[in-house]
Symmetry: none
Subunit: 208 residues, 4 copies
């Protein structure tokens, strides 16, 4: 195990060339980790794929974990952005089912965009604890977004909107992850979405 070091990038790449280098490394890292897993993906391999010397890689990232964290962070940012964008799309008086459908679909799309990488980033362990914190924070952000939207929905009758929102996010996160990686029963993609929408819809609109 390497000594604990800050996992934030070492240098701020100020020059144009450095910018490109950093991006090449991250892109290469994503590919290498996706293909071979975190433990199996070596820094030398990443450097090679990035077309950069190993020394250069370590110029910008203090260690292997920092590369992973940087990749994960950008994935999470993208995830949040897409979900927020997707949720904002519908009108205010849109039926709950449509809203949920869009939410689940978007989450599914995000997971599908690079399943292997996703599995490594969020399914593997052990990981730098930074990564874990990022994920938790993402879920928190998503829960807030969802809660705000649900509270504007007349159909929804939750005693504790906060808790409900968190449960919804966790459930969607977990089920889409599983669906993408090993399927659920023999459910087709659309059927899966419908089923999850039914699960969440009946929960959120249940008689108390």
């Amino acid at each position: 195990m390497a000594a604990q070091r800050p996992l934030s990038p070492r240098k701020r790449p100020t020059q144009r060339r450095s910018q490109a280098t950093v991006e090449a490394i991250l892109k290469a890292g994503a590919r290498v980790f996706a293909r071979r897993g975190y433990a199996g993906g070596t820094t030398n391999h990443i450097a090679e794929v990035a077309g950069v010397s190993i020394g250069t890689l370590y110029e910008y990232f203090p260690n292997k974990g920092a590369i992973l964290v940087a990749i994960a962070q950008s994935q999470l940012d993208r995830m949040i952005a897409e979900v927020q964008h997707s949720i904002a799309e519908g009108g205010v008086d849109e039926p709950l089912a449509d809203l949920l459908h869009r939410f689940v679909s978007t989450m599914l799309e995000v997971h599908e965009s690079d399943p292997k990488l996703h599995r490594v980033l969020f399914g593997e362990a052990p990981h730098p604890s930074e990564l874990h914190a990022c994920v938790l924070q993402m879920e928190e952000t998503l829960a807030h977004t969802i809660e705000a939207r649900l509270s504007a929905c007349p159909e929804v009758a939750a005693l504790d909107a906060d808790t409900a929102a968190h449960l919804v996010v966790q459930t969607v996160e977990a089920l889409t992850h599983r669906f993408v990686h090993h399927g659920i029963h023999d459910l087709a993609r659309d059927a899966f979405i419908d089923e999850v929408v039914a699960l969440l819809g009946s929960y959120l609109t249940r008689k108390l």
Copy 2:
């Protein structure tokens, strides 16, 4: 990365002594993996904790992965047994909520019994594909059990009982796992169970 090899134990430990040796190794493996993760747990360390030489360990297990699989298998077997036992407990005319409550509680207990080990076995990757298959099969078994019980429940109105059962199992699996490892919102244990029961209950009894 080791070459692919059969992951089943090498010898059938027919004799008493061998039995004990194998068990010692599995127990040691569980402890070591729980404490240090899969990658961090070395076979030499396992052998040492088991009070056995490294040579003996390889006499019974062809490689590191096989130890993990064996440990996982026994955990999964226990899981299935406990759930089946727990589900069988209630009477036939028992309310759905009570049944679900018992199911969720049992799953939670199983996850709580050794969270660290559980995380390594079912949260970490990469793992021998055998392990993955075992987990899928366990979920299948659980789904069957649940389905059988639900079909006897008058409240339940599912179009596709099979799919519903799978979704229920997946959801409970995923949510209890998450709850044990990093909590969900700030939900207390009991509140968590109630919430999951509500989620599943409203889904299973929804008006179609």
Copy 3:
């Protein structure tokens, strides 16, 4: 910089084969360090010279520093033994000059036995702090030995025998080291010994 680890050997080599292996490693280490210095001598090189795989080397020594310390320890032990033996040789009523002569000669011989190695062990830095402690302790031991002998010498008139003994040891240590490594003036070996004997003799027998 490697993380701090115990520098004592890892395994007690109980079997005959291991004994030989450890000795081969120490011998190879002595040669390699002597030839290339501590920093320049690599563990891989030592293993190669020892005719042993790098893994085997690390089976017995937790890191490079431990090899150095082990080599140094044995050198120091030899040093102490030779000096004690040499000092014990003379009769009780032996003239001081003869005693000193033997002491200086012996120290010189020890330093001459493998000057390059000696320089690395006791002239280089930075070194594991263990090594420093060993050297200090050796000097302490030598000082005690010398003091005991000097106190039996009627010619010696020291106010503080303890201090005098330490100064004598330090001086001989330092001057022989320097003489061996870059000579002092153009002094021939014998002349050097005589001069040091004169230095110490006049000091120990001075009128107070």
Copy 4:
């Protein structure tokens, strides 16, 4: 190990700015080497502390060793200057003990001025051979100075003044170095000086 290259500075810094740059590098080098040793002090770190880019550093020094040598040279020059100044202070008919006392004190002061740096410069190895030569030459210079002064001293009765002077210098060098770095016995500073003075005084004034 770097290829052997000339260790003298690359450019003559004729301009003011260059002067300042060189001095900044030397000062930074002194600090960095003192703090982290020679091997542990990196050229990048030195450049950073000097507030200069690594490229600029290599504009003035062909390699790491050259920086060390330059630092050492200036220390040695200072050493010689201080000793010469100190020796010249006393009157011609001053007692030998006073002269020696001043000499030892001055050497001690010089060693004490920056012990860490001193240890790195003159205690560590391996070093560029240039450095070794510088040290030898310094000792030669010091020996000449001492010899000249001693030959004017009626108390001194050395057969070979040259040799005696060298031995004196070597002894003082070695003992003050040791005293500063790990003490000698439990001798206080003053007591140490007195003892060394006694050692040298009795040697220089001994009956032949």
